[in-house]
């Protein structure tokens, strides 16, 4: 019997598992595949748009939630966690990872260039993106400001990063404090493996983990850079070696930053690997590649998770359960061909917005993606029809929660860490109470 079974190893599952373990509880972390961190860009978003760009996410949270409440019958996850849990969660994550992995401030957003040359708001970011920061606070200019010169450099062997598109658009953005950036495009060549013309970002990042391979890139960057220019590269500058970026930057000798690219997202993988290592060092029991097929319950209490293991199903008993398995992107939530939505692991009731779930314009905010499980303020899963807990010891966190439009709001990581911390703390307090 474990104290807690956590289902899912994305940001919320990993963070909750570590926090529970650090409180002295035994934790089984069961997950089917690698978590969602590697799909993201390695930043920690709290709230980026509501729908106008957000400069101070926690100060603007109440207004955001009031608008949400007016627009939807489903509560936003932040309505349960509140600003305090966001502060607590983001702070806890930043402290766990340290400044080599994350820097920033939950109170103040910055904007970072994207791979189509937009300026995207976020709260925390890896140090490898620091030289690309555009401040949203006119009083405090960021690394890039009006008149800053940027050279966006593509790698010929890497197709998910087009410097002409990015530089052209970057130079078209009006900066928050007025003025624009100057941006131009250039190219280097860096075959990740001999003769490879079509490399994934991960292959290039792995090649750059080898200090001996970096010189070839450094030489080209030094040759193309002009005095005073900041260099922007795709976010593929080293995977496992946490010093790879700093070494490259110091060898090139100019400001240098990474721009996130579509998956596999190397900055997200760095966070994922680091958190997984912390979890394992803390002796979280990790069950990788294990499908949770269902659960045993009695009297409104979950008893055991049924885990698909070789040859037979394993009934893994625990005192509390945390569902942190993600939403539609991970397959936890599913829409079948009869247009019925379901939660595929435990068959939980779902909060579903009224009206059509998918609208006919490609404009974001598809109601379908706000479907999820409803919870109370302790993140205990409740039946949306009655508000009563489905099981007294089942909690949920992260992308499976109802009520958010994570990709439009830029709120995914904030929701993940706030709900993970809130759920973990409720579990810790409830299990301690039970023991007494």
């Amino acid at each position: 019997m474990r104290d807690v079974m956590v289902i899912g190893a994305g940001l919320s599952g990993l963070l909750a598992a570590i926090r529970l373990r650090q409180a002295g509880l035994s934790v089984a972390l069961v997950h089917k595949g690698r978590g969602g961190l590697q799909l993201g860009q390695g930043t920690v978003d709290v709230l980026g748009y509501r729908p106008q760009r957000v400069a101070r996410p926690l100060d603007e949270l109440d207004e955001f939630l009031a608008d949400q409440h007016r627009a939807s019958d489903i509560a936003h996850p932040y309505a349960h966690t509140g600003a305090d849990a966001i502060r607590e969660g983001v702070g806890y994550l930043a402290e766990l990872l340290g400044e080599d992995y994350l820097v920033g401030d939950a109170e103040v957003n910055v904007a970072l260039p994207t791979a189509v040359g937009a300026l995207r708001p976020t709260a925390y970011y890896p140090p490898s993106m620091a030289d690309g920061v555009v401040s949203l606070d006119p009083a405090k200019p960021g690394a890039l400001r009006a008149g800053s010169a940027v050279v966006v450099v593509g790698i010929r062997e890497f197709k998910d990063f087009t410097p002409e598109l990015i530089a052209g658009n970057l130079a078209l953005n009006d900066l928050p404090g007025g003025g624009r950036l100057e941006a131009r495009a250039d190219w280097v060549s860096f075959p990740a493996r001999d003769g490879e013309v079509d490399s994934t970002g991960l292959n290039i990042a792995r090649a750059l983990d080898d200090p001996a391979r970096r010189g070839a890139l450094v030489d080209q960057l030094k040759a193309l850079g002009r005095p005073g220019e900041t260099i922007a590269l795709p976010a593929v500058l080293g995977h496992e070696d946490p010093t790879a970026f700093a070494d490259l930057r110091s060898q090139v000798g100019s400001p240098l930053f990474e721009i996130p690219v579509p998956p596999p997202g190397v900055p997200g993988m760095r966070l994922n690997d680091r958190l997984t290592r912390i979890a394992k060092e803390a002796r979280v029991e990790v069950f990788l590649g294990s499908n949770v097929l269902g659960a045993d319950s009695a009297g409104g209490v979950l008893q055991a998770g049924v885990v698909g293991t070789t040859g037979h199903d394993t009934h893994l008993k625990a005192r509390a359960f945390l569902l942190a398995a993600g939403g539609f992107e991970s397959g936890t939530l599913e829409l079948d061909s009869y247009q019925k939505v379901s939660e595929t692991i435990l068959g939980l009731p779902l909060a579903i917005p009224a009206g059509e779930l998918i609208h006919d314009t490609w404009a974001g905010q598809q109601p379908l993606f706000s479907v999820g499980v409803a919870t109370n303020d302790d993140m205990v899963v409740v039946d949306p029809a009655t508000g009563e807990p489905v099981y007294s010891n089942l909690y949920a966190a992260g992308g499976v929660l109802a009520g958010a439009q994570r990709w439009d709001e830029k709120s995914g990581e904030g929701i993940a860490v706030a709900s993970a911390v809130r759920a973990a703390d409720a579990i810790i307090s409830n299990l301690a109470g039970g023991q007494r």
């Binding site: 799909l39 993201g40 860009q41 748009y49 760009r53 994207t114 791979a115 189509v116 040359g117 937009a118 300026l119 995207r120 062997e157 197709k159 998910d160 990063f161 087009t162 410097p163 002409e164 598109l165 990015i166 530089a167 052209g168 658009n169 078209l172 953005n173 003769g195 490879e196 013309v197 079509d198 996130p260 690219v261 579509p262 998956p263 997202g265 939403g327 539609f328 992107e329 991970s330 397959g331 599913e334 829409l335 079948d336 061909s337 247009q339 998918i358 609208h359 006919d360 314009t361 490609w362 404009a363 974001g364 598809q366 379908l368 993606f369 994570r406 990709w407 439009d408 830029k410 995914g412």
Partner: protein
């Protein structure tokens, strides 16, 4: 002002118009083909891709069946790059009565169409996913055809024989002097401006829009009833040969393997406006149910895209106008000399993609007779320029090409194995082409990711190659994703929802495309079906 002067103007760049233009050019007459949008953007491109063996018509219309069988062989020979020789099956599913199948072999013999009945075991060994309760199976020579490749092949051939092709040119006037057509006037939708083309003859191959075009010449009441049908592309080839239900022609009775997908179709509902064709949810459900009758587990398979096309059927007084299935499926020629006392205009509608060449031959024969020209048809004699190789298309052909150049070129669209070179060559040849225009020829964004990964790369290449600036490329990207969505949202279910979530994560979450420079929700740049003097065109100028 006169900009061009030719013998013949062909209006409509679908299969029919392309076939007519090729035929006219091969007979040595000068010809201009105009279309208000891209080639094959109407009914031809909204098709399930079946190259009929004739099996569909052996009982209802033996003459059609014989024509199909003959034309199938010709098209397979002259359009090798567009036609895959898949073979086909007619199956009696557990839900179908065996009555229709009783007459199948006799009908095939009468139509001189090759067919044989095979055992259920043989059918299952050919198509292992066939429903286990299948009652009878007949093997026929159905094939599949890429409508776009066929149209582009025909057009390349026409050009080789001297034809001029003007896409995104919308006709809005047909000049006549007395009882004679003298010129056609169009709006250039991309570059702006107007051109006038003097001609001796006009062939109206406007498909569902033919009635409106005839009206420009003062020939009214040409009643073309658009019969709307939806089609759904399923991820993967659930079958490797065409599977037809062996029943009287009905909705959802055919599953066609085309390229990397298989397409189920279709419905048939009278439409009011061929420019506004919905994909109703109930018809999607009907298609999925019908697929499940033919193929085990069909509902659990992944639908990747849907579209809606309009059959152009000329109203026939013998049946009610609302019942388009029982109208004549053959071609229908309106001779405006006979009908309206107007020299120099023929309207052709209806017919089948399979018999496009034969239709063209027949109408050009009529035209030559009216013009007093003795020029025989030779379109069955030579392969089109894109087909001058020995073998027919195979689904594995891009894989084979990839094998030869994987160390030289990048794959931009993994789903469809479209390489960087394929894309940049075509984009540079056609600098005006939208990403959607390029898609029809390259299959960009037509696989499972529906543009989630490849569209940003493609937009980037337009920029790198100097075809678009960054704002123009961003507009292309947004428009492309908007157009993909039209065929995605009606069928979203299962794994395709998961893909869509990932695409949303990439496009909105990571790239923040909604906040890149340019209009977040730009208006359609080349709207079809908008009157030529409307505001949209004024803006385009």
């Amino acid at each position: 002002m006169t900009d061009l002067s030719v013998d013949v103007v062909v209006i409509g760049g679908g299969a029919t118009g392309a076939g007519v233009a090729r035929d006219v050019a091969m007979r040595g007459l000068s010809v201009v083909l105009v279309d208000r949008a891209d080639l094959g953007q109407g009914t031809t491109g909204r098709y399930h891709g079946l190259l009929h063996s004739g099996g569909r018509y052996v009982i209802s219309d033996p003459e059609s069946a014989r024509e199909c069988a003959e034309e199938n062989a010709i098209i397979t020979r002259i359009h090798t790059d567009a036609v895959e020789q898949t073979g086909g099956l007619f199956v009696v599913t557990p839900e179908d009565s065996e009555e229709y199948s009783e007459g199948f072999m006799a009908g095939a013999a009468k139509a001189h169409m090759p067919a044989e009945e095979i055992t259920i075991a043989q059918a299952l060994s050919r198509e292992p996913r066939l429903h286990k309760g299948t009652k009878r199976a007949f093997a026929v020579l159905d094939g599949t055809v890429d409508g776009w490749a066929m149209v582009w092949g025909a057009v390349e051939s026409a050009k080789e024989h001297g034809a001029t092709v003007l896409t995104y040119h919308e006709v809005d006037r047909i000049h006549r002097v007395g009882d004679r057509v003298t010129a056609v006037e169009c709006v250039d939708r991309k570059a702006g401006g107007r051109i006038t083309i003097d001609c001796r003859f006009v062939i109206n191959a406007g498909g569902p829009w033919a009635g409106r075009i005839a009206g420009f010449a003062g020939c009214h009441d040409v009643d073309v009833v658009p019969g709307r049908g939806i089609m759904i592309a399923m991820n993967h080839r659930l079958v490797n040969s065409v599977v037809n239900r062996c029943i009287y022609p009905a909705d959802g009775d055919i599953l066609v393997p085309v390229h990397t997908v298989s397409i189920i179709g279709t419905t048939d509902v009278k439409a009011d406006d061929p420019d506004n064709l919905p994909i109703p949810r109930n018809e999607v459900q009907q298609m999925l149910d019908s697929g499940a009758a033919m193929i085990d587990g069909f509902r659990e398979a992944r639908a990747v895209h849907a579209w809606s096309g309009a059959r152009p059927l000329v109203k026939d007084n013998r049946v009610k106008a609302t019942d388009t299935r029982h109208m004549s499926r053959g071609m229908s020629v309106l001779d405006h000399l006979e009908r309206d006392d107007l020299h120099g205009l023929l309207t052709i509608t209806g017919g089948k993609l399979t018999t496009y060449r034969l239709m063209a031959k027949r109408i050009v024969d009529i035209m030559c007779e009216q013009l007093g020209e003795d020029r025989p048809c030779t379109t069955d004699q030579e392969p089109v320029p894109t087909s001058r190789k020995t073998h027919n298309y195979k689904v594995t052909h891009r894989l084979e090409e990839r094998d030869h150049q994987f160390q030289e070129d990048q794959i931009i669209c993994e789903c469809e194995l479209m390489s960087r070179q394929m894309f940049t060559e075509l984009a540079e040849e056609n600098p005006d082409a939208t990403l959607d225009d390029l898609r029809r020829r390259l299959r960009l964004g037509m696989g499972p990711c529906q543009g989630g990964f490849c569209s940003t790369r493609a937009a980037g290449l337009l920029c790198t190659n100097g075809i678009q600036d960054s704002a123009g490329a961003t507009l292309e990207l947004r428009e492309f994703m908007k157009h993909r969505w039209m065929g995605l949202w009606p069928i979203l279910a299962g794994a395709q929802v998961r893909q869509t979530a990932l695409d949303e994560w990439i496009m909105r979450g990571t790239l923040d495309i909604d906040h890149a420079p340019g209009d977040e929700n730009p208006p359609e740049r080349y709207p079809v079906g908008v009157p030529a003097d409307s505001e949209a065109v004024e803006v385009a100028r």
